[in-house]
């Protein structure tokens, strides 16, 4: 975390998430000769090609062959190198699923995966390119660490932190057109430690990726218009999960909603639900995401709005949950 790279808001505004990580990786490559970068005909689309321009001898484009991509990366990691691998999230988690699980995670190798076009960030492309299952898949792989950065600045933080973090890591970003959320990088990013981006006592919104910005804006609106005190948590690390922050929110606000660009089965919401269920504490709880379907086609902002992942959708959901009397059933002892 000491590269001395500072991303001004101006940088973040003009650079996509992917461009930013391309730059970070280049910078790290200068001092860390064991870094190699790999892709599968996605050098330009993912921006990992920036590393290739600087360090051509440490860059490998294996062509359109994702299974081979992750197999080769595993071999390089076994040889002592630290591979950073980038292609679309959908092909990482599904086409090369077994290579990631068996070659990389099973052998607990230092492979740093930057999976792009996550969620519905490439909405126009349709279901073959949407990726709303990857968090569920990756969560089920032992040894895997999963990070979903909120924006480009957090991506820069995550990529840098990944280098020093032992074992495999899956960093899931969008297509790169997401608006920035953070203004500087020194807000205290640590893998496994959630960030409270808005304090509040009435309800907690737990988010990752592009929904963080939307939730923060919704919280602002709800404070001004509904007088609600809404806590917003950026749960950038899905695994290992920050149990303490989640349970603190349960205790303090008793109402939790999760927002993610992922199927509501198996992703951020399910991870949070696991924590709450295991704690034995009760609270009102709702998961918002893709409702177990193949998504419609459309631009990301249309889809985010349709699936209630934009500011308006989030405001509506908060009002619904605030209106819900979750103590109405007398048969239940909801003392916690």
């Amino acid at each position: 975390m000491s590269e001395g790279l500072t991303w001004t808001l101006y940088d973040a505004n003009t650079m996509t998430q992917a461009q930013i990580y391309g730059e970070v990786l280049c910078k790290m490559g200068q001092t860390r000769p064991d870094i190699v970068a790999l892709t599968a005909d996605m050098a330009k689309s993912t921006k990992i090609g920036r590393f290739g321009e600087k360090f051509p001898e440490r860059f490998f484009n294996v062509g359109i062959a994702e299974q081979n991509l992750f197999g080769v990366a595993a071999g390089m990691a076994k040889s002592g190198l630290t591979p950073f691998i980038s292609t679309m999230a959908v092909f990482t988690s599904m086409r090369a699923c077994e290579q990631v699980r068996t070659d990389i995670c099973y052998q607990n190798l230092d492979c740093k995966i930057i999976a792009t076009h996550g969620g519905v960030s490439f909405g126009q492309a349709g279901s073959t390119h949407h990726c709303t299952e990857d968090l569920a898949i990756m969560r089920s792989f032992a040894n895997m660490t999963i990070i979903v950065p909120a924006d480009g600045i957090e991506t820069a933080n995550a990529v840098r932190a990944a280098f020093d973090w032992p074992g495999p890591i899956y960093i899931r970003i969008g297509r790169g057109f997401e608006p920035p959320f953070y203004e500087t990088e020194d807000y205290g990013f640590t893998i496994g430690k959630a960030v409270e981006v808005n304090s509040g006592t009435d309800i907690t919104l737990i988010c990752c990726g592009a929904t963080v910005l939307q939730a923060a804006e919704a919280a602002n609106y709800l404070r001004q218009n509904d007088g609600l005190s809404v806590r917003v948590i950026n749960l950038h690390t899905i695994k290992p999960i920050d149990t303490k922050t989640i349970l603190q929110a349960v205790m303090d606000t008793r109402r939790i909603i999760t927002f993610e660009e992922h199927n509501i089965q198996g992703g951020l919401g399910s991870a949070v639900a696991d924590v709450i269920a295991a704690s034995g504490k009760g609270c009102a709880f709702e998961k918002v995401g893709i409702p177990d379907c193949y998504c419609e086609v459309g631009y990301p902002e249309d889809l985010q709005s349709y699936y209630k992942l934009d500011t308006d959708g989030i405001i509506g959901k908060v009002r619904q949950v605030m209106d819900r009397d979750f103590e109405e059933d007398d048969d239940w002892e909801d003392e916690v």
Binding site: A40, D41, M42, A43, K44, S45, G49, N61, V62, G63, I64, A65, Q67, N68, V90, F91, R95, Q124, A125, G126, S127, T128, H129, E296, V297, G298, Y299, D302, L303, Y306
Partner: protein, 280 residues
């Protein structure tokens, strides 16, 4: 089914119209994979307008031939052909890529009339085509299966797994095309991940190989006629093409793998297609 001069002239005209329609859809869509859509126009036009036994009025006709566009990112070209064939109104494609449209950039078989198989993730089409062809054999049906691959797509191991199976099972009711435009996303196929000697690879996998000019209707028809009478080995037609064919400023320029067109560029692009048509 030898091809007549009249047929050739009609196909040339059709191809030119389809190219212009691809240009329109790309501009409506705000961006599409236009380079590889333009390179496959002649092969897909030959299939839809001369060879394939299909009926746009009856898209689910049980004995129809099956066409699998394995390079599914060329949906903009595929959609233009389906509309031209009469599966749906061309005007509907104004919604291409738009919210809740049935037409995403990779066509969905559950949403778009005439699409037999959903593709878009490369390397899936040929295995499914082998399955369709075997399906015909097992059910004693006479339909043929056609599959169009990208040359970059042939980096995928699954293509070669399917090739192995096609020759092992002697799947001669399948005809495979490769749109050999020599480009993928990051650059030239031979620079990013070389696939040559390409014809030899297919031969080694047990295929009969036809190496032709993929923009020439006579060569396409001759190769197809031969492929359709084969009874020993499956055939692959390596159709040598130009990425962006017909639009001079796109031809062989990798930046036009995916792009958008403003109204100026639409005019320039169509003028170029028209010049190509007049030259032929």
């Amino acid at each position: 089914m030898p091809i007549t001069n009249n047929e050739i002239a009609a196909l040339e005209e059709r191809a030119s119209k389809i190219r212009k329609n691809i240009i329109d859809i790309t501009s409506w869509a705000g961006g599409a994979h236009i380079g590889g859509a333009l390179s496959m126009v002649e092969m897909i036009t030959t299939l839809y307008f001369k060879y394939a036994n299909i009926d746009p009025a009856n898209p689910d006709m049980p004995d129809r031939d099956r066409i699998v566009v394995s390079k599914g990112h060329s949906g903009v070209g595929y959609a233009a052909v389906l509309a031209e064939k009469g599966y749906f109104d061309f005007e509907l494609l104004k919604d291409f890529n738009k919210f809740k449209s049935p037409f995403g950039m990779h066509l969905d078989s559950l949403k778009v009339r005439g699409v037999d198989v959903s593709t878009g993730s490369l390397g899936h089409g040929l295995p499914m085509a082998v399955g369709l062809a075997l399906g015909a054999r097992v059910q004693k049906k006479n339909w043929k299966t056609y599959c169009i691959l990208g040359d970059g797509e042939c980096n995928e191991g699954s293509i070669w797994e399917a090739a192995m199976a096609a020759s092992h099972f002697k799947v001669t009711n399948l005809v495979t095309f490769v749109d050999r435009n020599r480009f993928m996303i990051d650059g030239k196929t031979e620079e990013i991940m070389s696939i040559e000697p390409f014809a030899d690879k297919w031969k080694a996998f047990g295929f009969e190989v036809r190496d032709i000019n993929g923009h020439n209707f006579v060569e396409l028809a001759t190769a197809l006629d031969e492929a359709l009478t084969a009874d020993e080995k499956p055939t692959v037609i390596i159709a040598n093409t130009t990425k962006g064919k017909g639009v001079d400023f796109m031809e062989n320029d990798v930046r036009w793998h995916y792009g958008g067109l403003n109204s100026d560029l639409v005019i320039k692009a169509k003028a170029s297609v028209e010049r190509m048509f007049q030259r032929n």
